[in-house]
Amino acid sequence: MDQLDETIHQPVRLKIMAALKALPNREPIEFVRLRTIVDATEGNLGAHLATLEKCGYIEITKDFVGKKPRTRVALTTAGRRAFERYVDYLRGILDGTP
């Protein structure tokens, strides 16, 4: 990758991607827990998730647990690869080989 992924390189979206990448492959996380990790408001997180979903980096599933609605987010394969390329790009800058 020879240029920065601008979609990922935004403070909140970077945290989202890092949080999801730390989970086992395609393991989802609940919206409320992700909000705690990322430390964003509900609206702010929702907006950034929509951006990442539009790029195909994450998938959002909504269902019910009993009568309670639940929203979960998982990293897609494309998102995992994009994030790995992004991290490699950052490391390349530090190594002097972008």
């Binding site: 920065l4 601008e6 390189h9 403070p11 970077l14 945290k15 890092a18 949080a19 999801l20 990448k21 730390a22 989970l23 086992p24 492959n25 395609r26 393991e27 996380i29 827990r33 705690t36 990790i37 990322v38 991290v87 950052l90 490391r91 800058i93 530090l94």
Partner: protein, 183 residues
């Protein structure tokens, strides 16, 4: 857009911090129901040991089978990959604890029922502390609390040690499970 070395370094630090936190919370969520399960098992097992001591051996075999099977199920639950690997790792870990426990008891014979119970509780507490060093402080605190409660009950309430472990030990494990879940 190009980044400076400082900006790249800052971004990588952010990734590391968030990844660590996310992984930690994920592990807490996986461990939480297991702690509650073993809390219930301890509550039942130690209470029955206090009131029906002649049934203790058979009872604990049955309860341990339930606990081990429960942990294997909970450990692999919901995972889309490698659930067999995780289940076998759980089984291997528990087998290692049991073998160590049996060998130690044989080396330090003769032992009382209270001593064998305290030893198992302390071994389990040790594993929580070691796990907590790698995963997160809440797990380590759980292990330390378990060890402390075991030692207090063993020395201060020897005649009621099993009942102490049932209520205080089992209760502490259940509370710890709920505490991990709320992280």
């Amino acid at each position: 857009m190009t980044l400076s070395s400082e900006q790249a370094s800052q971004a990588l630090r952010e990734v590391e911090a968030v990844s660590h936190r996310s992984g930690q919370l994920y592990q807490y969520q996986r461990f939480a129901p297991m702690l509650v399960l073993w809390g219930v098992i301890w509550l039942i097992g130690f209470a029955m040991t206090h009131f029906f001591p002649t049934l203790a051996s058979r009872l604990w075999i049955a309860l341990d089978v339930i606990g081990i099977a429960g942990c294997m199920y909970l450990g692999g639950k919901g995972k889309q990959e490698a659930s067999n690997s995780i289940a076998w790792r759980w089984l291997g870990s528990i087998a290692a604890i049991l073998v160590f426990y049996i060998v130690i008891l044989n080396i330090f014979q003769p032992f009382s029922g209270q001593q064998s119970a305290a030893l198992m509780a302390l071994i389990v507490a040790l594993f929580y502390v070691l796990g907590g060093i790698w995963i997160g402080v809440r797990l380590a605190i759980t292990g330390i609390a378990m060890a402390a409660l075991t030692v207090v009950g063993f020395y201060l309430f020897p005649a009621y040690f099993f009942l102490w472990m049932a209520v205080v030990g089992g209760g502490a494990l259940m509370l710890a499970g709920l505490w991990l879940r709320t992280a």
